[in-house]
Symmetry: C2
Subunit: 516 residues, 2 copies
Amino acid sequence: MSKRMIRIFDTTLRDGEQSPGASMNLSEKMEVAQALVELGVDVIEAGFPIASPGDFEAVREIATNVTGSVIAGLARCNDEDIDRAWEALKGAEAARIHVFLATSAIHREFKLKMDKDEIIQRAVNGVKRAAGYCSDIEFSPEDASRTELDFLCAVIEAAIDAGATTVNIPDTVGYATPAHMAKVIRTLCDRVPNIDKAVVSMHCHDDLGLAVANSLAGVEAGAGQIECTINGIGERAGNCSLEEVVMALRTRGDYYQADTRIKSQRLVPTSRLVSNITGLVVPRNKAVVGRNAFAHEAGIHQDGMLKEPTTYEIMRPVDVGFAKTDLVLGKHSGRAALGDRAKALGYSLTAEQLREVFDAFKVLADKKKEVYDDDIAALIDQQTRDDVAESWTMVSYEVAAASGKTPSVTLRMKHGQREVTETVASGDGPVDAMFLAIEKITGVPTVCKDFRVQAVTVGKDAQAEVNVELEYHGRVQRGRGVSTDSLEASALAFLNAINRITVYRDAPAQGVQATL
Amino acid sequence: MSKRMIRIFDTTLRDGEQSPGASMNLSEKMEVAQALVELGVDVIEAGFPIASPGDFEAVREIATNVTGSVIAGLARCNDEDIDRAWEALKGAEAARIHVFLATSAIHREFKLKMDKDEIIQRAVNGVKRAAGYCSDIEFSPEDASRTELDFLCAVIEAAIDAGATTVNIPDTVGYATPAHMAKVIRTLCDRVPNIDKAVVSMHCHDDLGLAVANSLAGVEAGAGQIECTINGIGERAGNCSLEEVVMALRTRGDYYQADTRIKSQRLVPTSRLVSNITGLVVPRNKAVVGRNAFAHEAGIHQDGMLKEPTTYEIMRPVDVGFAKTDLVLGKHSGRAALGDRAKALGYSLTAEQLREVFDAFKVLADKKKEVYDDDIAALIDQQTRDDVAESWTMVSYEVAAASGKTPSVTLRMKHGQREVTETVASGDGPVDAMFLAIEKITGVPTVCKDFRVQAVTVGKDAQAEVNVELEYHGRVQRGRGVSTDSLEASALAFLNAINRITVYRDAPAQGVQATL
């Protein structure tokens, strides 16, 4: 029997981006979208165009420039939302309008104040309007898993009749069990007469740790699409993890008799990219993509592994994109060697980018005897991602600090061509003093919401990667800096965030967001 | 219908501690064990006594001093392991010997080189020897989920006949699906004639993201015990998360008709404790205990939340132990106020401990206008946890650094009463130079395997918490330091690790470890 192909609908850029702290700017979204195409996802939900001008622009840019996957945009069931979604999507090679409307009793009563007939009418109107623009229409009854089954069947039938080609069943609050999800999907497949005209889709949240299992239960019961995110990011406890659900289907293809088009070797690079961009750390023990996922600590395991790998290994690290070797480069390595490693790590650099990364690599290799894969990845991320117009750049710093005394920092920065020097003697330590000096020079007062440093690789000369979140007038911007000097990396991260703040401070505030 | 009570068997101290990087020392294990009793777990697996003298000592100390939960020790099916386990457990108020033996074809052939009859005989002998010591005996057929069902039934029947009172079904490699686990448990319940004389237990790994779902599927099919860990730590992708499986059963008690004795308000404090001790970060989007688990970002959600919380909330934050308010203390707060917050945060301090923590609090409150819950938790962790004999302590430091120049650190330290001062001009930045100065003074050469800084709370005067992992002769020790000055916190973390290395460097190397 040939395996059913399950469509992967990635919503990292829409539901994932709604994670507190995970918002992305335009070029970051473009980069993620391109990585998702290379990963082989069938549909990319690029955003919710009505939500804000930034969301609209991101969906439009992705729709216009990214090919190879269907590009979807979200809309509530009203004309304005749908028109705006199509406006953003119309340049796409393949576009999908995704309309949603809550259907459960609690939402009908408390949020929408509409009765069942009104809900069906609104859903039908929305799907019809969308179908006037394009043929690929997805309809989602929000809070479907808590909707009365009879009514859910009626809504789904009406939506398909109106032109929906995919019907998505969100477990919006992450309340469902696998048996419950299976029952819902089976009921729809059995009782909705026109169900064969649409693909049934799963959209599960992980509040009880069951998002992957609920999605798979739906597939077993007949669903043909799974909505998921890289690293399982998303509101609250997040969405179904793409990497977990994909590898469960592939590893247990014998049982599920289903597979996806995902190129599994791209899972780890894509996971790293999204983690770097959002600042959301992948825990060591994350299935499939975590640092420990293939680490076999126990002595007995290692013994068994030597005798026969399958005693303890159900997947091979190389199949999910962990590099086979941690080949070390050094100051004598050439540009070709660096290019090869970059390619093996999943980056496709232009000649110009490779030249820039190579220049930075030579500087690093002078400071650092052994340059590891993770160092190279950090370099490339640093060199190729910084789209923010750097109104402020650092020239140099000097710091003097001693325990129990007030630290002093002298900082030289450039604003365009203008150089500014400021000495600050304040703060609890050198990082704090550096931060205060940056604030004094730039005149941008912020609240530090998060500050994290991590070593990129091992050893005393490891590079430090610093992530910060600064709040300015109620909006949070992330910043990232990498250097072998963690104090310099901290300064770069603060400056990166400040530059983002100055770029975006005049942009309108984030508008409404969506829920599924 | 009254709900079935499912036993919670926590293996954070055994399977969890086998996570690469998560090893704990004796006093840390004691602290976790005490927290597990307060959480209400039925059984605490304290370790694998034969594995190493450290494991033996930890199980013995916990067995002798911790009451309120059954204390279990692990043993392979041989006399030496079992005798050693009992030696460690015999002082316990309630002890359980847990014996295991692999049963799957691949393990029989490649690891054990034994046929089926030999396996059964070995299992029976092991259970009988253990039953000679105590009446509470658990038997685990390793890799049970990949064992032929007929043979698994035969082994389980023989083990129960020999005296096993709990029979545990490990999905050792994390390969099972919920439907498969349900089938295995149902088959055992249907076909093993003496199954009513034992409790059937689940032990699931998360390699495909299904550990929680597989455990719940087993409970639906008749299992009466779940083996799990705090934060789901454990080998590779880890074990079933205690907090997720417990809250799934409680939140969906209507469906599972089962519950546990867990005091759910202790989940977040226990999660924090284990994360602090092991250095394994809890991701923001971790179900139940993650920082975002109850954060509703989306505008529509917030609107719904205001109208009716249950539109988007299936659990209340307060029910899993998120403090209701983030009450702020300051320099004028008294010892009673601090004691109240500590209690609310889940700490039970002795009068002596409260005095010490209060002294440290006054120092902090002088530097920091607002002292948050997380600051207080960090203070208490710092003051009450440091058991390591501090052979080396820091007196003071001075640092001078500038971009592009070699940083210089003058460090004064004490070794016992002897004061040593050293100036080092080397390294890539101040942290690096500090590290080199510590190495020079202590004479302990290490490789830095991990270095992480995170802000404990928000704002410029936030405390920094630094975690490091230093490798010394192939063994890794963690260190932790907290200060409002992140450079000082880094030095404290390095010193903490060095002190652990000097304490443990003469201890015998870690021995064999277990797999289930």
